[in-house]
């Protein structure tokens, strides 16, 4: 079953030097599966994620032939309709907990804010739900975390708090924008396992945006590779090593490997025909 369908999505910014297209005709369908979007900085992967939630402010423009979520036309949806979708049905986890959590508000208050405002939940019930969400992301002493400010938490804890926050309304689709890039490898693996469990047990759809091809390959079912706003290759994650497109191959081969040769790492060829 298709949860999200995007046809020919374009995101345009008007600048002094003319319009710049950050996303140029992206189409994909997503079921209850894990879809990875990979590319370098500026490839339009984050813009694609944000465009699904129509979270691009003027002067940016979103155009698409069709963009539907669970039968609802996202392009025609009004701002109140979108507000009902955002968070509740489609949630987004941002890259860096340092910049995405409110620094002057305790974690508990931030977790409960949505419940209190949106669902008019009584304080005790909201607190119980927030603690349950923190437990779901394997935070050991949720009571202490509830009473902490974001700067008192480590990067991995902060990222887990953000994931917990997004999971409270039980969304159908989670968009995770580089959820582990700010984390260490060991913590990264933990956070990914948590996300993986949640996707499996709750049957969510997941869009996982990252610049790390190998991470995406291990974690997702399907991978879209983006370059300069276009999808250059779409393939099953398990076939990644057999990638045909030179850009995908370039992204793979420029990573150092343990026990690999110490010669110069191959640089990406950005001048080939496909790059235009």
């Amino acid at each position: 079953m298709t949860l999200l369908s995007v046809k020919n999505l374009r995101v345009t910014f008007d600048t002094e030097t003319g319009p710049v297209q950050a996303v140029r005709g992206v189409s994909f369908d997503l079921g209850r599966e894990r879809l990875g979007i990979v590319g370098e900085s500026g490839s339009g992967k984050t813009m694609t994620g944000r465009a699904v939630l129509r979270l691009i402010r003027a002067p940016g423009r979103i155009e698409a032939d069709a963009m539907t979520f669970d039968g609802q036309d996202l392009m025609a949806a009004s701002e109140p309709d979108l507000r009902a979708l955002r968070g509740r049905r489609i949630a987004m986890v941002m890259q860096d907990p340092k910049f995405s959590l409110n620094p002057v508000m305790k974690v508990g208050a931030q977790l409960m804010e949505g419940l209190r405002q949106r669902d008019n939940a009584p304080r005790a019930e909201a607190r119980a739900k927030a603690i349950a969400a923190l437990e779901a992301v394997q935070i050991r002493d949720p009571e202490r975390v509830m009473d902490s400010y974001p700067h008192e938490l480590s990067g991995g804890m902060g990222q887990r708090v953000m994931i917990a926050m997004m999971l409270i309304p039980d969304p159908d689709l989670l968009i995770a924008d580089e959820p582990t890039s700010a984390l260490d490898v060991t913590v990264q693996a933990e956070v990914l396992n948590i996300l993986d469990d949640l996707v499996k047990t709750r049957g969510m759809g997941l869009i996982f945006i990252s610049h790390d091809l190998r991470l995406v390959a291990r974690f997702c079912d399907r991978v879209l590779v983006m370059y300069k706003g276009k999808i250059v290759e779409e393939l099953a994650a398990k076939d990644l090593l057999q990638a045909k497109h030179p850009y995908t191959q370039g992204l793979l081969s420029c990573l150092p490997r343990i026990g690999g040769s110490r010669g110069a790492l191959p640089a990406l060829d950005r001048n080939a025909d496909w790059a235009r």
């Binding site: 190998r214 420029c254 490997r257």
Partner: protein
């Protein structure tokens, strides 16, 4: 004799009412023209060691010797001419209102060296940037270009030792490859000695001859490159780090 000798180094930060032992009794040696890696998760003390070498962390025990001589406190100009550091985040480590020219000419001015015009142009060429970038501000550069400027700045005084604190972890995979290639080339050309900190074992393996695995401020295990490649680590933590490494994930 080793170029850098670190013996039972301890660093303790005293904050309101409690003491944080960031580095506890860590020892290692780096030979001249070798490349040494420090790896571990956040808070393991790896960056603190680099900062302690530069005199930017409170050393509470042990000794750091370079060329067999204990380091003076404060470190002074002779130290700066010999040892330089490249920081993690090129978005934070370059002054936003200083041009590339000013960033690169400052060390020369402090050390009273002339001929900065020619030296700056050469420094930019050496790190693979066009000389026209000289009068740009950091916000007019990409992340990879900024890190090249930071490397050029560190090399202005022709140091012998370069301390690299996660030099590529803020960069994309493809830009990381270019930056690592640049560092390898500069090391070969100038006979530099590297001490490199990273949380990415694959990067450390690519760049370093030996690596020290750290956890909670303590040295866990020192590995040669061969031992790392053949997964011959003996401690469970080093093994866990190895298993979690991104480049193992395809096989995993």
């Amino acid at each position: 004799m080793a170029l850098i000798e670190i013996e039972n180094l301890s660093v303790t930060f005293a904050t309101a009412g409690r003491k944080v032992r960031a580095v506890q009794d860590v020892s290692f040696k780096v030979e001249a023209q070798q490349s040494f890696g420090l790896v571990g998760e956040s808070g393991s003390g790896k960056s603190t060691i680099l900062r302690a070498i530069c005199g930017m962390a409170p050393i509470t025990g042990g000794q750091i010797r370079i060329d067999g001589k204990p380091l003076p406190t404060p470190r002074g100009r002779a130290f700066a001419a010999q040892v330089q550091m490249v920081f993690q985040d090129p978005y934070a480590s370059l002054h936003p209102r200083h041009t590339v020219d000013r960033v690169l000419s400052e060390p020369l001015a402090i050390h009273g060296q002339g001929g900065s015009d020619a030296k700056i142009e050469q420094a930019l060429i050496d790190v693979g940037l066009p000389p026209a970038f000289r009068f740009r501000y950091p916000h007019q550069l990409s992340g990879g270009q900024r890190q090249r400027v930071a490397i050029a700045r560190a090399l202005m005084l022709q140091p012998q030792i370069l301390l690299l604190d996660e030099p590529t972890s803020a960069l994309d995979a493809s830009v990381q490859a270019e930056t690592l290639n640049l560092l390898s080339r500069l090391r070969a050309e100038r006979g530099l000695t590297f001490v490199m900190v990273s949380h990415d074992l694959a990067v450390i393996d690519h760049m370093c001859d030996r690596v020290l695995v750290m956890q909670n401020g303590q040295a866990v295990e020192e590995l040669s490159r061969e031992a790392l490649a053949s997964a011959a680590m003996t401690t469970p933590y080093a093994r866990a780090l190895f298993a979690a490494s991104a480049d193992r994930m395809l096989e995993g």
